[in-house]
Symmetry: C2
Subunit: 276 residues, 2 copies
């Protein structure tokens, strides 16, 4: 395949490196700034720098930008995209993206299959990209109106570069699950480190501090967008968490050892049933 | 030294293994049930099973039991403890323990230096113990009324088995810091997995789910005790977290992107300033 990757940050860059490491596809890179393109060329993550002309015979277009630029890119350049091309984004939210993308795919004739690679780091940009970022990770597929053969094509492709789970869901289910599995932990990490005690934690902390606070080293611009574009499921999950936290807080404040014990056992049981 | 360890769970067992691996001290084990003693003997973690008589010429007594049994053990057997012995507990809470322990040390003549090894796992018991559990970890020293030379002795000892940080604090400071660094993450992990979505997370999650939920596989009995014996600092820290979570939740619900961005940047800055 001829694969065009638009946006060579940590995710787009990791796609490029993984494709070159694990497959024989040709990778063409497009990026607003020059630096990531130079680095990608130098380390062999892309075969060459591309132009919009490359969209005319691309078999696949992977958009690695922030969500809002993903739609903007396709809206602006959709008329240049090969009608046999499969276009996929890599955004962490789907309802907000997919409606526009499906409309644009119908307008311009290409196929859209949304994907969300469940992988990342606390650092950003092409310098943080890694050919093995996706090893054993999950890539959520949100095919919307795509045909079975095209979904299969995307599934085979993501598995060829390391992903081992490929659940297929609607945008709505995706966004609800992601609110819980990813967005709440990011809100939580930031809220947690805002305690005035945080600055003095060193020497008094171990794994549990490290784990809860890890993702507080956040890309604030991107996550502000992700939170707002997934507002309803996220606020709903935050309310669930706040309720559960309040229940525990009140049991502790009221010395209700039986109730604390039961809530802890309930949590433990959920982890055990999941085999974690 | 002749070191008696009372309670061979994950912590007491790891002390025993680390002492035998890294020092020449003699280790005597005491435990209510036989099984951990048999295992400890078999793998060389203790030199022999002890009796209460061993307290008469012990140089150090390490109590590895749950907090409430630590005080009970010393109250019952304090009259048997060598007056030159340094007694240390390993409890995760200190105000509740130390007042009793200091009183008992004055009554019976031994020296008490509270310690809190900041290390653990999601599994318990002697089978989970590990000679290297304390490598590069912090051991918080809560010496109360102990003399400098005895504090130094404990510090040198814990450093000899792997600890690399040994902050010295009052019980009150210890308990406030631990509420933030350890207890809040444990409350949080349980509250988090109680979301009805948790049971279906597999395929939709990655590192941030794993990290926040990890300690939900909790020893419910022990943590119920720890939470209640540190009630005031813990409830205060939970209230701080709840306030910060609400602020973020409301900014999201109100589409206030500037406020979300600022809160995220504030969290990021704290992590950066800590060099994390």
């Amino acid at each position: 395949m001829k694969i065009v990757i638009a946006g060579l940050g940590i995710i787009g860059g990791s796609y490029a490196k993984a494709i070159k490491k694990y497959t024989d596809h040709t990778v063409i890179g497009i990026n607003r700034s020059k630096k990531p393109l130079e680095m990608a060329l130098e380390c062999g993550a892309i075969d060459r720098e591309g132009t919009l002309d490359d969209l005319k015979d691309a078999d696949m277009l992977i958009i690695g930008t922030y969500p809002k630029y993903a739609v903007e890119f396709v809206r602006t350049n959709g008329h240049l995209i090969n009608k046999n091309c499969i276009v996929t984004d890599t955004s962490g939210i789907k309802t907000a993206i997919c409606m526009d993308m499906v409309r644009l795919s119908e307008q311009f004739g290409f196929t859209f299959v949304g994907t969300h690679p469940m992988a990342g780091k606390e650092t950003n940009g092409f310098v943080s990209s890694d050919a093995d970022l996706f090893q054993n990770a999950s890539c959520i597929l949100v095919p919307c109106k795509a045909q079975k053969k095209d979904i299969k094509k995307v599934e085979d492709f993501v598995r060829s570069i390391g992903f081992t789970q490929t659940p297929v869901v609607t945008p709505k289910v995706h966004d609800r699950m992601i609110a819980f599995t990813s967005q709440v932990p990011h809100v939580l990490a930031c809220a947690y480190v805002l305690s005035p005690l945080c600055k003095n934690h060193q020497g008094f902390s171990a794994g549990s501090y490290r784990d809860v606070s890890r993702v507080a080293k956040i890309n604030a611009e991107m996550w502000t967008e992700l939170f707002l574009e997934n507002k309803e499921p996220l606020v709903s999950e935050l309310d669930t968490l706040l309720d559960n936290l309040y229940r525990m807080r009140n049991s502790i404040a009221n010395n209700d050892s039986q109730s604390i014990y039961e809530q802890l056992m309930e949590g433990r049981k959920i982890k055990e049933e999941l085999g974690e």
